[in-house]
Symmetry: C2
Subunit: 117 residues, 2 copies
């Protein structure tokens, strides 16, 4: 029987060595080493997070907040290093979702089996 | 370089063959094969889900709902097969959390590196 922790560490190594992770690492470091890009990226992150929090708490989002968020998104889209970073984040997210679908299959089969409904 | 999908499938197999998963599978099947236990378990699940949904939507939870939830939890705790199932779910959750911590380490290191803050 394969050891779960060994398999998890093998998978962690495979992720760390993947093209997707290394592309993301490079783009992230490119943005972080440029103070102007870093500041814009952090402002984008903060804005997204604030809106998400308000949504989760069921609070209304004002027109002004929507407008501010739209402005930051536009600035970010025009910044090639940040756009690249966001694309690379999306690629890694797809990979992580794939992995997650694979490893939760036993549970999904157990709980999703129509015989049990 | 290890292949990510191969590593993920190895991990899936390790989970499927684990003691934790097989204990959960046995307890789940024990509850599902007993109509009275199945019904109580599903009532518990539905109650938890309804309260969670209301919380996520920022809606108030009434005293009556709290009381209903408490009653179902008490019934469930007194049912040994369901208690066993819930313990086994918790054990598997601990395992899944462990795995998740291991495989998200590369990302955590990248985004959590204090040099980047
Ligand atoms: Ca690159
Ligand atoms: Ca068992």
């Amino acid at each position: 029987m394969a050891n779960i922790h060994d398999s998890a560490y093998d998978l962690e190594k495979a992720i760390r060595e993947s093209e997707e992770f290394n592309h993301l690492k490079n783009s992230f470091e490119a943005v972080m080493s440029n103070p102007q890009a870093k500041q814009l990226f952090e402002r984008f992150r903060d804005t997204q997070m604030q809106l998400q929090e308000k949504q989760m708490q069921g609070l209304d989002i004002t027109e002004e907040e929507v407008e501010q968020a739209r402005t930051v998104v536009e600035e970010v889209q025009q910044h090639s290093d940040i756009s690249k970073l966001m694309e690379d984040e999306q690629q890694l997210n797809l990979l992580i979702n794939d992995i997650s679908r694979i490893i939760t299959k036993p549970l999904e089969e157990l709980y999703g089996n129509p015989d049990h409904q």
